[in-house]
Amino acid sequence: MNNIHSLRFFWPESVLTVAVLAMLVQDLLVRRSPRRVGLLTIGALFWLALTALATWRTPWGNFPIFGGLLVHDPLRIFFAWLFLAAALLTVVIVPRSKEISSARLGEFFALLFALLLGMYLMASAADLLLIYLSIETVSLVSYVLTGFQRGRRRANEAALKYVIYGGVASGIMLYGISILYGLFGTTRVAGEGGIGAQLADVTSRLFLAHAFGGQPAAQLALVVAVVFLLAGVGYKIAAVPFHMWSPDVYEGAPTPFTAFLSVGPKAAGFAVAIRFFFAAFERQLPGGGYAQVGDLPWPAIIGIISAISMTLGNLTAIVQSNVKRLLAYSSIAHAGYLLMGLAAASTAGVQSILIYLIIYVLMNVGAFLVVIAVSRETGGEDIKDFRGLGTRAPIAALALVIFLFSLTGIPPFAGFIGKYLIFAAVVQRGGFWNVLLAVIGVLNSAISLFYYARLIKAMYLEEAIDQRPFRVPAVYTGVLVALAVPNSFLIFYWTPLVRWAAAAFGGSPSS
């Protein structure tokens, strides 16, 4: 499909591009106005609504656009809604948090839209070039937003660490991509002549195999290239060995952005991973299932990363005293749980990831919102600042309890649905290693209860020095309730989620 025809399916991205520029211009126009916070928030909500409209109006379909650089399919639309939800929550939260000064709110929104644009592209990239470019777009904007509070030492330090780790991770990924280009002579992942098609064709030999000293060496180069590529993706989703940045960045970045960072780019990273592995190394069967092509043991690689991520994340989280760091390690552990669904390498596995991501947005943003509300009043983010929250701000405390239990995956709460589906998908796949992975996952959920419970204990059983009740902005209370309700009651009616995820992935065979 050529460029002009592709534009029909590119409306959301076009609107987002205009939104970035419009927010910058609006920032200049209302810079001196006393009502600029309100005006800028309304502007941001307007552009979000327009993007949502464009996303909603995009025709359903499953085909490559822009000559195969991007692919338009239900999975992309699914992630688009997920990103929009995360962005909406951030736009609502930011104006009342004290961390973004009102003079620079317009800049923040402009950067947020640029980030959203990058994530949209990540969700539909079907070419290694676009995968790299979109990941870099998201990364570069994230560096800036992490160091947004220029005068704060911790913010600057976090941004520096993020740039260095991010630069190395994307460099390694790029090197892997260059090897893939050499092996296959193309950077297309899906579609005709792409990497997937070449691997599926048993008669085809790896391109330029002689340069690598024959077929077995080329096979080794393929494994190395894929592992290198995983560095870039793993860094975006904060999976172990590429997780080192995340605690520092989560702590140093302004908390509203941390909340967004922990759900948005992570989900986008999973979008890239799902699309890359299923387009390149899996072939869709007529029944809708998937069969592996080539002999790259990618589910095993993902499974190992997954097991290490959740174990290391959970064990390190136990000793944290700063709540933002604690949630950072918990988010590393969650990357591990989510990767388990990918390691299952099945339709059910991916669908469980999608469902878990929705629930993850609901519970993780909620947890961070309570942190914002607390640090706004107490000025700190340590567990000791949460003491006595049960009496000082009962609604926020109760909401946090719900979010934390949901993150643990305890039955009445929504997190349980996600975890149950992921574990079920892995066990369904069968085999000793898959069952072992599921067992590790269950054990990890038990470990995670330790540190979540520590926070709950501080809120209800420990006395605060300052006993006065504190004010939570009405907007925050509203959002907290709106997030806590689905977390508590989703268990009674979650068929829509399943139906939605089923529509997004594994429906009709991809082109």
Binding site: E136, L140, R153, N156, V168, S178, G182, G185, T186
Partner: protein, 105 residues
């Protein structure tokens, strides 16, 4: 006499990659580390251009296009990186990465 072929370019690329990694790991100066990252990106660029010469078919110019994008992104990354280093210098009065390690304490 053996002529210079693809393996030679790949070795140059791999050497650049290794040097970049060593720079990143051993340097304590933030600007030096960013330079190491540039080396890694250029290692990939050498690979792209070298492969591009030998590839036939639809992917014929992909390598060159890719390397142009990498050059531009490397510039953007350097710009953001240097801006952050500047901010670090304004608050810490040093750009030694071992002394700007106050988090997790």
């Amino acid at each position: 006499m053996t002529s210079i072929g693809l393996p030679h370019f790949l070795i140059v690329g791999a050497a650049l990659f290794a040097l970049g990694m060593i720079t990143v790991v051993t340097r304590r100066n933030a600007v030096g580390i960013l330079m190491g990252v540039e080396l890694i990106l250029n290692a990939a660029n050498v690979n792209f251009i070298a492969f591009n010469h030998y590839v036939e078919g639809p992917g014929k110019v992909t390598g060159q296009v890719f390397s142009i994008f990498v050059i531009v992104l490397a510039a953007a990354e350097a710009a953001v990186g240097l801006a952050i280093v500047l901010a670090i210098y304004q608050t810490f009065r040093t750009i030694d990465v071992q002394e700007t390690d106050t988090l997790r304490q």
